[in-house]
């Protein structure tokens, strides 16, 4: 990564941490905030797809699908933004789905690492933890506080990874 990219990644990590802190302090509006983030994310994704079509995918066989996907995501983003009052179900599905998927992948990774005599325990613990969180989301689906807390934990984790990765050495030496 260039120095500028490292700074950018670090700042985005800081912003995520800030977002998590705001959410924790204002749990009541937490769900609405999360829905806003989801809606904006979908909207931005739609724009990105359209830009992707214009700069790259239009040169690809069957690239028009990217344009259609972009328009669909934009529309879906608008739709989500109208659901602030009915946002709970969407957030529950998002959180539970994401954690269950991550957990499953980690458990499979642990099994694979064990087969190759690699380090597997951390992956297994991470996988079990994620699946537990997914189940938690479903059990405590009525508690805005807990759902917001789980979302915040995910944000803090991602922010941490980002901030650490901005310090990682990535360059490779070449010796003639």
């Amino acid at each position: 990564m260039s120095r500028l990219q490292r700074i950018g990644v670090f700042i985005s990590g800081l912003l995520m941490l800030l977002g998590a802190a705001v959410l924790i302090l204002d749990v009541e509006d937490g769900l609405m905030f999360i829905t806003t983030v989801l809606a904006v994310s979908l909207f931005v994704m739609g724009i990105r797809f359209i830009v992707y079509f214009l700069t790259m995918a239009r040169h690809m066989v069957g690239g028009k699908a990217m344009l259609f996907a972009g328009v669909f995501l934009l529309d879906f983003g608008f739709f989500t933004s109208t659901m602030f009052d009915e946002s709970r179900l969407m957030i529950i599905l998002y959180l539970a789905g994401w954690h269950a998927f991550s957990g499953l992948v980690s458990l499979l990774r642990a099994r694979e690492a064990r087969k190759y005599k690699g380090h597997w325990k951390l992956s297994a613990v991470y996988g079990i933890g994620n699946i537990a969180v997914a189940i938690f989301c479903l059990i405590f689906s009525k508690s805005a506080k807990i759902l917001t807390g789980i979302y915040c934990a995910g944000l803090v984790y991602s922010a941490g990874i980002r901030m650490i990765s901005s310090f990682r050495r990535t360059e490779i030496v070449f010796i003639q």
Binding site: M1, M56, M60, G62, R109, Y116, I172, I175
Partner: protein, 388 residues
């Protein structure tokens, strides 16, 4: 390509090129080990993870597709399985990102292949085996790029298998399905491929994932529309390509042994393979998912010695048990060194072409050492070579 070619066929090529049975075994072991040397395996034996030459399916699923993750994936797959053909190709369409990705498309007889084989010269059987894996894969994996990219590596519905019939070929429409636990159904022309995802950098669009294992079967012939090809179809003739790979390996190995003065592009040792052409062609054309048994029988008929099955754990204990200062001298230590050298070289060439898809490369002669500490072993190796 699979173990049948990387292990058994490489043994045959090495033996025909003049290596002894034992040398050929070490060489083909190294060629096959390229498909096994994952970060998971390396961490298990306490070796530097930067030397990974491949990734497990789940390693890739877990890998982050952020900038660092993508560069790591590209370094591995472009260096060892999809050697780029022309890093300075004229691309008159698309953005810079498109151009950078287009330039990573793998093909045969590239400048990078010449460098790859040259890098293995006088550096042991492990380096030679590793180079043979890369050389062979340029034939099987041509037209795909070793970086996640939908605009380059995607395939669509237009995909037909060509089956020899009489003097020509019969065409059968290929059906792809995504089922990681399933198997290819040759009788139904139904094959497993990766999931279609609407994401440019999805690992599902790495290499030939979208075309399933078809490039890896030696008997396979097919025609399709590559995503990058502007609606011009490609006809892939694996038996012919694999035969070229085999004869080019013999030529390259003769160069590595010192029998040929130079390794040049478009050179194949057809003469050395001629006495065996019929048998080799028969193996390559036989419609079977794994030709290991046939190649093994051929190899054993060449040398009169038994070729043991590939054992992934064969040299791991030696590496684990070796004292720290001796690890580089073990079998796997030498393999790891060759892998790091290759990865460093390819990353440098991609970087110098103006692309950051494989990350930054620091020229030691100009800037001294920097970056990932694992690569310090290249410096140790360089000093050893200078001393000797």
């Amino acid at each position: 390509m699979q173990i049948d070619f990387h292990y058994y066929a490489t043994y045959c090529a090495a033996y025909i090129a003049g290596y002894s049975h034992e040398e050929s075994l070490d060489l083909c072991y190294s060629a096959q080990f390229v498909d096994c040397c994952t970060k998971t395996l390396l961490s298990g034996i306490g070796a530097p993870e930067s030397a990974a030459t491949t990734q497990l399916q789940l390693e890739m699923m877990e890998a982050r597709t952020d900038l660092i993750g993508l560069q790591d994936i590209t370094r591995i797959w472009a260096s060892f399985h999809f050697l780029p053909y022309d890093l300075h190709a004229e691309v008159k369409k698309g953005s810079k990102v498109y151009k950078d990705k287009y330039r990573l498309i793998c093909n045969t007889n590239s400048d990078l292949l010449v460098e790859t084989v040259g890098l293995a010269k006088d550096r042991g059987l492990q380096a030679a085996g590793l180079a043979m894996h890369i050389l062979a894969d340029t034939w099987a994996h041509r037209y795909f790029a070793g970086t996640p990219s939908m605009v380059i590596n995607n395939t669509n519905d237009y995909f037909y298998e060509l089956i020899p019939e009489g003097d020509g070929y019969r065409e059968e429409k290929v059906q792809f399905r995504h089922n990681p636990a399933g198997a290819d159904q040759f009788g139904k022309y139904s094959y497993i491929n990766t999931l279609y995802q609407l994401t440019e950098n999805s690992v599902m669009c790495l290499g030939h994932g979208r075309a399933g294992h078809l490039p890896d079967y030696s008997f396979m012939r097919y025609r399709y529309l590559p995503a990058w090809g502007n609606y011009e179809e490609i006809i892939k003739d694996n038996p012919s390509d694999y035969y070229h790979a085999f004869t080019q390996m013999i030529y390259a190995l003769k160069f590595l042994r010192g029998e040929e003065a130079a390794f040049e592009k478009e050179h194949y040792d057809l003469e050395a393979a001629a006495p065996y052409e019929e048998r080799i062609t028969e193996i390559l054309e036989k419609r079977q998912p794994d030709a290991a048994a046939d190649w093994k029988a051929f190899g054993e008929s060449l040398s009169g010695c038994e070729i043991p099955e590939f054992d992934i754990e064969k040299y791991q204990e030696e590496y684990r048990q070796a004292p720290k200062e001796e690890k580089d001298n073990t079998f796997l230590g030498q393999f790891i060194m060759a892998a790091m050298r290759q990865k460093s070289m390819v990353t440098n060439r991609i970087y110098k072409s103006g692309s950051l898809l494989a990350g930054y490369s620091i020229d030691y002669n100009e800037n001294g050492f920097g970056g990932i500490k694992d690569f310090m072993m290249l410096l140790r190796d360089e000093r050893r070579e200078v001393r000797s």
